[in-house]
Amino acid sequence: MTTGRGQTVREPRGLILPAWGYYLVFFVAPLVVILAFAFAHREGFFDITFGFYTENLERLWDPVYLKIYTNTLVLALEGTLLCLLVGFPFAYWLGTRVRTHKTLLLLLVIVPFWTSILIRTYAWALILAPSGFLSSFLQDLRLIANPLHLLGTDRAVLVGIVYDYLPLMVFPLYVSIERMDRRLVEASRDLGVGRWGTFRRVTLPLVLPGIMTGCLLVFVPMTGEYVVPSILGGGLRGLFGPVAADQFLEALNYPFGAAMSLVMVVFLLGVIFLYLRVLGRQAEQNLGAAL
């Protein structure tokens, strides 16, 4: 033991082991169990034989299920794009124009993120219901004659997911805009490049990692969304989340539900891998700042 000045106190490295073990047992092992169930064979209701049966994965080629996957991807892409369109100007304003009360304004973006997704989704059910807030408001203004029938449609689900995940998009965008070297933008303007040209050729490339991180953070949960379609989607159950959930909660076909989830996990791992490949070293920094 040295007694020299400036000696640092070192906590044992082993302190990371309990959490690591916890992840292995309660996070990684459940994912492996999904894999095992996806290749299992089911006889009757609960008579499950493990092995290497591909029947569950083959059933996924049924057009019904392919349609569910495409529906889900389209919805998640639409939701991601809308989040970006709403979030970018907003984050740009926060990052470049706001000088006072910035902490408070950022806090106001975080609070909804930590507020129950159930309640925030439910709020839209109240607003979009035929006898709800929006419908009666528009009828009072005589803008529409009949009650709106938005609740229970794909549009309602889209509004719900954009609303629920917007904060996750705003943060990475804000961080990259705030960090951007503004002198480059000024230099471009001074050299006579127009406003739009500067935005497209200087600003956009600089904040691209933030855009990618934001898109990743909202796209991934949107593909697995369960609460929003359950509440705002009404009877239409053509999305991955509710259909996969039904295999466990209603149909009790665990192996098939596992196969559905497995395909989704593999796809999302592909998306995440692509993100890491494209961003490389910047990925860690970006995720760290955004989460």
């Binding site: 106190v9 992840y23 994912l31 999904i34 304003w93 609070v111 909660l249």
Partner: protein
């Protein structure tokens, strides 16, 4: 360059007025987005004080449904279950997350990168996938744990990552000279930790615990899958009610949940500000210690 000074000045004026228009448009959009974020929540709160039997028809202000909710024994039971599972999950997450954050200070870079992969994956993987995996896992290996224990265990996976992120951000921003002084003055490792490190970390740990509590208290997806027969948390109660249609009772319970959640979040934020963990930029999951390091 001296050819037409007047037109240059005119051009500049045009540029400036255009700049102002952009500024105004951005500010206006900012207002629109905040309204979009908060008005729906406000609608729920307002309707919780509606005395009408019909959920969306405003009749008059009143506390009728608050009384109904309070008298409903199943709601009281659900609230109690939610409170204790959320608190237990926060306890597990705080212990695991704080320990991990401390250990991570001293590991090699490669170990940290490997650990981070697990930590970030636990945050990013869609909840429904973890929920399905956990149901299969518990049903296969420990069916007796399905119900409240499984709820606590699965919630703590996500929250361990949350606490680790928050505590790590605080550690990164902490001045180590106090710890060094303590060690130089002969305090042992444990003594230094208990009397120097821990007090400095305490606000971050508490904030992490509160956010872990909040996440668990609000969770629907994980709980839906791993809850056993006969136990229902408050959000599950609301969720099942909503599937049969909108009821005024749901407004009341939702508003009550909002109050608890908001109190926890705001307290966590105050703690994080006070502790001034400025280093280590982090976003909403880490409680928004958002001062960006350059």
């Amino acid at each position: 360059m001296s050819a037409a000074p007047a037109s240059v000045a005119g051009g500049e004026a045009r540029v400036r007025s255009w700049d102002r228009a952009v500024d105004r448009a951005l500010r206006g959009w900012g207002g629109v987005v905040y309204a979009f974020l908060y008005l729906p929540i406000l609608v729920v709160v307002i309707y919780a004080f509606n005395d009408s039997r019909h959920v969306a028809n405003w009749e008059r202000f009143g506390l009728r449904w608050w009384g109904e909710a309070w008298r409903d024994e199943s709601i009281r039971k659900a609230l109690l279950l939610s409170l204790w599972t959320a608190a237990s999950n926060a306890g597990v997450a705080v212990v695991l997350g704080t320990a991990a954050a401390l250990g991570l200070r001293n590991v090699r870079r490669r170990t940290r990168t490997a650990y981070d992969a697990f930590m970030y994956m636990a945050l990013i993987v869609p909840e429904i996938v973890i929920a399905i995996g956990s149901l299969l896992f518990f049903a296969t290996f420990a069916p007796q744990l399905l119900g409240p224990p499984a709820i606590v265990i699965t919630h703590a996976v996500f929250n361990t990552s949350v606490v680790t992120l928050i505590v790590r951000a605080r550690l990164a921003g902490m001045d180590r000279s106090l710890e060094e002084a303590s060690a130089d003055l002969g305090a042992g490792r444990w003594g230094t930790f208990r009397r120097v490190t821990l007090p400095q970390l305490f606000p971050a740990i508490l904030a992490g615990g509160l956010l872990a509590f909040t996440f668990s208290f609000d969770d629907v997806v994980l709980s839906t899958f791993v809850t056993g027969a006969g136990s229902s948390t408050l959000p599950l109660r609301v969720f099942s009610e909503l599937r049969f249609g909108l009821t005024p009772l749901a407004n009341v319970v939702a508003t009550f949940m909002l109050t608890i959640t908001l109190t926890a979040i705001v307290t966590a934020q105050v703690l994080l500000r006070r502790s001034a963990g400025r280093a280590g930029a982090s976003g909403p999951v880490a409680g928004g210690a958002v001062e960006v390091t350059r």
